[in-house]
Subunit: 356 residues, 2 copies
C-alpha cells in the first residue's frame, strides 16, 4: 500500500508509491511512452483495463467490450486505493497515513488519435458529464476530502499514454494549495460579501486586454500573474461553486470554450504539451469541532479551470521560491489568441511543421 507523508516543516504531503517490479534505479530518464505495445485504452482492448465504472454506450452494448464513446476505469497502477484507514499516525516528528483515495481514468474517445482540440463540443460535453458523475460519486465517501480532475497532454506534461484521457484523483486531505485559495476567498468574502473570483473576472472583463473568449456562460482569459507562456484560466461567468451541477447547455458552452482554447494554442505553440486542471470545491464533510468550516463555500468559492502549456522548464529558482519567470506577457498571449480565433477558418497564423 502507498503511504501519505507530510513534510515535517511545512504543510506539504507526498504520496510514496513504490511501483511493484521497479527497482529504485529504474529512473535513469523520464519514463517513456510505451512504443509498439497495444494501447490499453483503445477500443477492442477493453480487457486490458480493470472493469469499467461508467461508460457512454449509445447502442446499449455490454460493459467491457466495444460500443462506447467515453469510458471510466480504475487506474491499473493507482497511486491511491480505497482500502485502508484515514487515521493519521505519528512517527516521532513525522505524520503519515495510509494512501487511501481513488484514482480513475476517463478514456475520452475510442479513437487513439482524437484530440479534445478537434471537438465537436458534443463529444467534449460527454467527457464533462463523466467528470461530474465521478466527482459526485466519489464525494459520497466522507473520507475523501478533495478531488482533482486533470489531463496531462504530451510527454513533457507527464503523459505516459498518448490515447486521449483524463484522470480523477480523490485524496483524504485538502491540500495546502487548495486551503490557501479557500482561505483567501473566505477572508475576502467576509470583508466584502463578494466572491473574489467573481471580482477578478469582472475586472478582467472590464479591462478586456487579457480576455480570450467570452461565450456568455464561460470566459477564458490569460491570468494577470500567468506563470507560463499562454497560461489560460476558464471561469463560469455566473458565480458557481458546484461543478457537478452544470446542466447540458452549460456543458456544451464549456466544451466550446475548451475546444477553442486548445485549438488556438496550436498556431501559438505547435501542439504543446499541457497540463489541464479542474479546480473543484472540496468535499463538504462536517468535521468534529469545525462544523461550519465549509459552510460559506457556496458563496465564496468559484470552480475554475487552469490550462498550463509546458514549454518552459521549472528550474532551481522556481523550486526555491515558488516564484515563476514567464517570458510572454499574458496581454500578448491573449491578443495573439483573440486574433487567431477571429481569423477566417482555413487561414492559419504561424503554424510550425510539428503536427504531433
Amino acid at each position: 500500500m502507498s503511504e501519505l507523508r507530510k513534510d515535517p516543516i511545512i504543510d506539504r504531503w507526498v504520496i510514496i508509491a513504490a511501483e511493484r517490479g521497479r527497482r529504485p534505479t529504474d529512473y535513469h530518464s523520464p519514463r517513456p511512452t510505451p512504443g509498439g505495445v497495444a494501447c490499453p485504452l483503445c477500443v477492442g482492448n477493453e480487457r486490458m483495463t480493470p472493469s469499467e465504472i461508467w461508460a457512454v454506450r449509445p447502442g446499449g452494448s455490454a460493459p467491457n467490450g466495444p460500443g462506447w464513446q467515453v469510458r471510466v476505469v480504475p487506474n491499473k497502477y493507482p497511486a491511491l486505493r480505497v482500502e485502508g484507514s484515514a487515521e493519521r499516525r505519528g512517527l516521532g516528528n513525522f505524520d503519515l497515513m495510509d494512501g487511501i483515495g481513488a484514482h480513475e481514468i476517463i478514456i475520452e474517445s475510442p479513437d487513439h488519435d482524437w484530440r479534445m482540440a478537434d471537438g465537436p463540443p458534443e463529444a467534449i460535453a460527454q467527457v464533462l458529464l463523466a467528470w461530474q458523475l465521478r466527482l459526485s460519486d466519489l464525494y459520497r465517501d466522507e473520507r475523501l476530502r478533495y478531488c482533482v480532475i486533470f489531463r496531462n497532454h504530451g510527454a513533457e506534461a507527464g503523459a505516459t499514454l498518448s490515447h486521449p484521457h483524463s484522470q480523477i484523483m480523490a485524496i483524504p486531505v485538502v491540500p495546502q494549495r487548495v486551503k490557501d485559495k479557500l482561505q483567501a476567498a473566505r477572508e475576502y468574502f467576509e470583508r466584502k460579501e463578494r466572491c473574489i473570483f467573481c471580482d477578478v473576472l469582472n475586472q478582467e472583463l472590464a479591462l478586456g486586454e487579457r480576455v480570450v473568449i467570452d461565450n456568455g456562460r464561460f470566459v477564458a482569459f490569460a491570468p494577470f500573474a500567468s506563470r507560463f507562456p499562454f497560461e489560460l484560466a476558464i471561469y463560469p461567468k455566473q458565480h458557481a461553486h458546484d461543478f457537478a451541477s452544470i446542466d447540458e447547455p452549460g456543458r456544451l458552452a464549456l466544451a466550446e470554450v475548451l475546444q477553442q482554447c486548445l485549438l488556438h494554442l496550436r498556431p501559438a505553440l505547435g501542439w504543446p504539451a499541457y497540463n489541464f486542471i479542474l479546480n473543484v470545491s472540496p468535499n463538504r464533510v462536517p468535521r468534529p469541532g469545525k462544523p461550519h468550516f465549509w459552510s460559506t463555500l457556496q458563496f465564496d468559492y468559484h470552480w475554475h479551470i487552469e490550462i498550463l502549456p509546458r514549454v518552459t522548464h521549472i528550474a532551481g529558482f522556481e523550486w526555491g521560491t515558488g516564484f515563476y519567470i514567464n517570458p510572454v506577457s499574458p496581454e500578448e498571449a491573449a491578443r495573439f489568441l483573440r486574433d487567431e480565433i477571429a481569423r477566417p477558418a482555413g487561414e492559419e497564423g504561424e503554424v510550425s511543421g510539428r503536427d504531433g
Copy 2:
C-alpha cells in the same frame, strides 16, 4: 523592464520578463541548448559576458581575461535588474512592482566539461566562497529581501548552457514558500525553544535509515517526505542560520558531502538532470511596524540545501494539489546511496551506458 505581479487570490508572485527579440510564438518547444555556438562561459570567451563582479585569479591576472578558476558575472539576460523602485503599485485588484533585483552567474570552472561531482573538494569550496561573498554583498541592498542560490544541471532541469555554473537571484519580496517555512520554524521555536530543523535532523540521525552521509559537520539524508526519487537534503549538523559565516574547514566539509552526493547519484540514475537549491535566511531588514519580525531568525532558522533529481515529470495532479507522487521510497534511495559510497573505489554498481 520586467514586472513582478502577484496572483490576485493567493500569495504567489511571477516575474513577467518578455525577452527582447522573441515573439510570443517563439516557444514551440523547450528552449534548446545552443549547439555549435561558442560557449560564453568558457575560458578565452570572457568578452562574451558582462564585466566580472568577482573572480578567483591565483596568478593575479587581469579581470575579464583568462587566468581564473571561479568567475562571477551579471546574467546577460537578467530576469531582474537593480534599477527601479521597490514600491508596490495597485491596478484595481492587482498588485505589481518593478522587476528589481539581481541575477548573477557563478561560472564554477574554466573547463567546459568539469562537473561538481568530479571535485576536488577544494575546487567546490571556491564556488561556495563565491556564493557566500555574493550573498553578503547583495544583502547590503535593503531593497533585496531574499536571495536564492541554485544550480540547474541538464536540459530537463532547465539548464540552457551546459558549462558548469550556478546562479544567484536576489528578489524584493520574501516568497510565500519561504515565509511558510520561517513561520513554521518560528511557531515551533516559540513552543519548544528548539529549532525544528535541528529536531528533524536529530530524529533522522537517531533513526538512521534515511541518512546517506554524516561527515561530522554536515549530514546528507533522503527527506522523510521526499517529492522525487533520490531527493536529498544537506543540513549543517550544528545549528546555523547564516550560510555566509561558514569558515574554510566548513566549506571543505560541505564540498565533500556535496561531491559525494552528486557522484553517487550517477550509478543510481545515470548523470541525472537535477536542480540544486541553497535555502538561506532572508535579509534581516527592519521593517516599519514589524521591527522584530526577523529577530529570532538566528535561533529558529537553519540554512539547508535541497538536491532534486529530475527524473519524474510534474503533471496535473501536482499542479492541482501541490502533492507529489514519488515512486521510490527515501529509505530505499538512502540505502542504495550508502551502499554505493561504501563500495571500494573502482567498482561501480549498476551503471548505465549513459555518460552524458
